[in-house]
Each structure stands twice: as C-alpha cells, then as structure tokens.
Amino acid sequence: MDGLRRFWFGFKVGAWLGWQIESNWTDPFLFAVYSVIKPLAAAAILVVMYAVVSRNAFEHPLFTYIYLGNAFYMYVGGVLQGVSWAVVEDREHYRTLRYVYITPVSFMAYLLGRGLARFVITTIAVLVLLASGVLFLHLRLDWAAVNWPLFLAGLFLGVTMLAFMGLMLAGVLMLTVHHSWFVGEAVGGALFLFSGAIFPLEVLPQWLRPVGYALPITYWLELLRRTLVGSTARAFPTFAHLETPELFALLAAMTAGVMLLGGVVFTACERYARRAGLVDRVTNY
C-alpha cells in the first residue's frame, strides 16, 4: 500500500468509525438535544455575563465580537477533543488501539478521521448558535454580505490547523494515563484566554499578548469575523494593520507550520510510547 492510500484508508475508516461511535445513540432525540443544549448553555453563560453588565446592549459591536468568537471557538474544543480522545477511547475503552496500530493504514490519518465526526456535530451546534443569535439576540449578521468563498476557505484552513493541533495532543495522550476528564476540552478552555475569542487581545496584560499573537487560532477567528461581519470586526484594533488577504496568507502559513509541527510531535511521541511500552496499556484509576 503506498503512502497516499495508507493515509486515505486510515482517514476513511477513522471517519466512519468516529461517526458510528458518535451517532451510536439509542435515542435520536437525545442526540439532537446533546448537540444543541451543551453549546447553547455554554454560549448562554457569556450572553448572561454580557447582558448583566451591559444592561442588554446587544447591538454593541462587542457583543457580536464575543458571540461569533465563542460560536466558532467551539470547533477548537470539538476538533481537539475528537482527534485526541480517540487515543484514550481506543486504548482504555474499546481496547482496540493495539489492533488499529498494527494495521498497514496510517495511524495518524486514522486519528484525524476520528475527529471528523466531532467536526460534523460541532458544525450543527455552530449553526444553531448562529441562528439563535440572529433570531433572538440581534446578532449583526447579514447573510448577503458574507464573503462566502473566503469564509469557507478560512474555515477549512482553521479546521485543518485544529486537527493537527489535536494530533499533537493525541501524541501527548499516548504518553499519559487516562485522567477522568476531557483533555482536549481542557486545553481548548485554556487557549480561550489567549485567542481573542471572547475579548480583544488588548484587554490582556501586555506581557500575555505575545501568546495570543503566536496562536494561529487568533488569526483564524479574526478572519472568520471579517468574512461574516466585516465592519464590526474592524471596530477592534487587534489586527487593524493587516489587510484581509494578508491575514489569510498568514493563517495559511501558520496552518502549514502547525501541520508540520503536529506530524513531528506526534511521530516523536508515538516512537517514545513504543519504546516505553505504552501503546496498549490500560491506565484507568
């Protein structure tokens, strides 16, 4: 099997299996509730925080900034979790990691495929959030003014970047024990602080801002905001000096860097796991 076929088969079977697992619900109603309630509740926390302090000033650009940032940030937790958690789930729960690992398909591609199902589910949640924002919270989203090609290209770049970040995390999880909480979501929660998702980077102390500027997620969220609500996004100074094409190019370059780094880190962790005999251990405690 050549390299491309190994990758494609690994990705395909990972995606298929991921969907089988994620959609293995006894009750479709629960599935729907689950895909909608969790993200809606998370968004509602921010909405209430905003409403309490601003006295319901939903027409202010900051609200659109926070709401959109939070909605698309769901991809961060979702994709990071989807790709990385497959390691823990296959190793500790299904006990199939060792069997998948020794097949000729690319293990890396298999994990990326496993994240695809979470991407699909997160997309449903994002759409529900956007629709709720427009319908109930005066979210300034003019569908006709959206730069769709750029939006879709940006979304694709960002999700690819996140998948490879998830791969780095998957490598780390191959070396660590099974803790009881979701590591992908925990990392996603921490990066929330630096990525300008729910407040402009200028709010952070000077010494913390470089972390935000170094994160590709920050550029990705800014690009998505600009494609969806151009003028509102430009009301915030973080990337005012960058034209949209420049922002896109930067994001593309950073994504390429993350892909390279993700591959290297994952391969290094995987090798270490093999040397230390950690590939198929069961560590739940």
């Binding site: 293995n24 619900w25 006894t26 009750d27 629960l30 509730v33 689950y34 309630i37 969790k38 993200p39 509740a41 998370a42 509602a44 926390i45 921010l46 209430v48 925080m49 905003y50 409403a51 309490v52 302090v53 601003s54 900051l62 926070i66 500790e92 729960h93 299904y94 660590t176 024990v177 099974h178 803790h179 009881s180 909480w181 979701f182 590591v183 925990a186 990392v187 929660g189 921490a190 929330f192 602080l193 998702a197 729910i198 407040f199 402009p200 709010v203 952070l204 069961v282 560590t283 739940n284 405690y285």
Partner: protein, 284 residues
C-alpha cells in the same frame, strides 16, 4: 506462620461502619497514589483550568464590569472543580469501571456501593481541593480580588453542606451507570454546561429570572455558591439571591434528600440491572 494458617487467620466481622470506612480508604487509594505516580495531572488539572477561568475574568474586564464580578468568577471557577469531580471523577467513573471489569467485583463485594463512590470522590478530592485552592489564591492575587470572610462558621457550614448535597446528587447519577452504559455517560456529559449556566458559576444567580433561579436552586451549587459569595466577597450581599440562612436551610434539605435518593436509586437500579442482565454486560 504456615501458608494455610495465614489464609485461615480469623478476621473479626467488620461492622457496617468500619467496612464503609475501609472501603472508602481502599477506593480512594488509587486516586491518591496516582497523584504521585502520574504528574501530568498538575498540568491538566491545575494549570489549564486556572487559565480557563482567567478568560472569564477578562470578559468582565473588557466589559468594564464592577470589581465584585471578578470575585464571582474566581469563586465560581474554584467551585467548578468540585462539580467536575462529581461528574467525571465519580458518576461517570462507573462507566469505566464497568468496561474494565471492576464493577462486578464491587457489586459482588460486601462493601456498600456508596462507600466505593465516596472513595472515588474523596480520592479525587485531593487534586480537586488543590485546584480550587490554586484558582482561589492565585486568581485573587493575580486579579486583585479582595476576599474577606465575615463569618467563618456559616461559611464552613455552607461549604460542607454544598459538598454533601453535590456528592449525593453525583451518586444518584452514578446509579444510572448500573443500568446503562454509554447512554448514561452522555446524559451526565449533557449536564456539565447547563449546570455552569444555571448555578451561576460566572455571574450572580439572581441575574437569571426569579423562577429560573428558584428552579436552579435544586442544584446544590446554586445555593452554595450564592451563599459563599455573600459571605466572602465584600458587597456580596448586594448580589445575593436569598438570605444566607435560607440558603443554608435549603442546602441542609437538599443534602438529606439527595443522599437518601442516591441510596434508594443505587439499590433499586442494581436490582433492576440484575434482572435485565446489565451489570456484567459491556454496552460498548
């Protein structure tokens, strides 16, 4: 001593209370020893959540919110640790125990299931308390939050009763895992964010509509957090939902109800699971 005598050595029959205590210690042990053997929890359980909480602080900063709100976030962020410990360290842990084959051994042992669950919870409590403490102390220092305890005894009572009710509720959820597998796991997962919202982890619960806040009070953390904020944050009373004494009484009732309900449900669902052959069945 000869081998056969060692095995036959008479052991006084453990009284219920003693067996309960020994079981708690026994099941807490793996969690505690894991802290020493697997240091990665320091990053995942302390550092990342602290950073995550900070994000909500900066939202208030971006909105120019009154300083008391920063204190609300820090206190709510600290208490999040206990909620997550209940959900992921105890309730859904039975899911993993079932898959690894340990659940049947727990059921078959004379040890009460509540003691095993409590052992899991207390074992995880070391890391949880540390996480809550770090968020509280470092968060207060970093963001200049002023905390001043006005009455230690009520604060301690609120804290302990909140935990008792919370862990009782967690045990109720855990009972679902005796009958269901992945489905129960999804139900528990579903609770995480809605409880953040309804319990007012990051804002005073009275910001919600009155009746929503009343209904949310059935979640032990709602009343607990609100009372703690009133007792710890200067000016906290201004944002309080109900008087502390009422909240304290509510928590006491919730503790009793949840613990009793947990005991009933654990027994009932175990019986049902035995009839339906679900205890030993891995429902992957």
């Amino acid at each position: 001593m000869r081998d056969d005598r060692v095995l036959a050595e008479r052991v006084p029959k453990a009284r219920s209370a003693r067996l309960f205590f020994m079981t708690v210690i026994g099941r807490a042990y793996p969690r505690i020893i894991a802290l020493k053997r697997e240091k990665s929890w320091l990053a995942f359980d302390i550092l990342l959540p602290l950073i995550g909480v900070a994000a909500y602080v900066f939202v208030y900063r971006a909105l120019d919110a009154p300083e008391a709100y920063i204190g609300f976030v820090i206190l709510g962020g600290a208490m999040t640790a206990f909620w997550l410990n209940v959900l992921w360290g105890m309730s859904s842990q039975l899911y993993w125990e079932r898959e690894s084959g340990n659940l049947v051994l727990y059921i078959m042992a004379p040890a009460p299931m509540m003691a095993i669950l409590l052992g899991m919870a207390l074992g995880g409590m070391t890391a949880t308390t540390l996480r809550a403490g770090v968020i509280l102390v470092l968060g207060s220092l970093l963001f200049g939050v002023e905390l001043s305890v006005q009455a230690w005894l009520p604060l301690l009572a609120v804290f302990l009763l909140s935990l008792a009710a919370l862990y009782g509720m967690g045990m109720m959820f855990a009972s679902l895992f005796l009958l269901f597998g992945r489905e129960a796991w999804h139900w528990v997962n579903l609770l995480q964010e809605p409880v953040y919202l309804l319990s007012g982890f990051y804002f005073p619960v009275r910001s919600l509509a009155y009746w929503v806040a009343v209904l949310a009070s059935f979640i032990p953390l709602t009343l607990g957090l609100d009372a703690m904020r009133q007792l710890v944050i200067p000016d906290g009373e201004r944002y309080g939902f109900l008087p502390v004494s009422v909240e304290l009484a509510g928590l006491a009732v919730l503790s009793v109800v949840f613990i009793a309900a947990a005991k009933f449900l654990l027994d009932y669902l175990e019986r049902l699971a035995k009839q339906e052959a679900r205890l030993t069945e891995s429902r992957k």
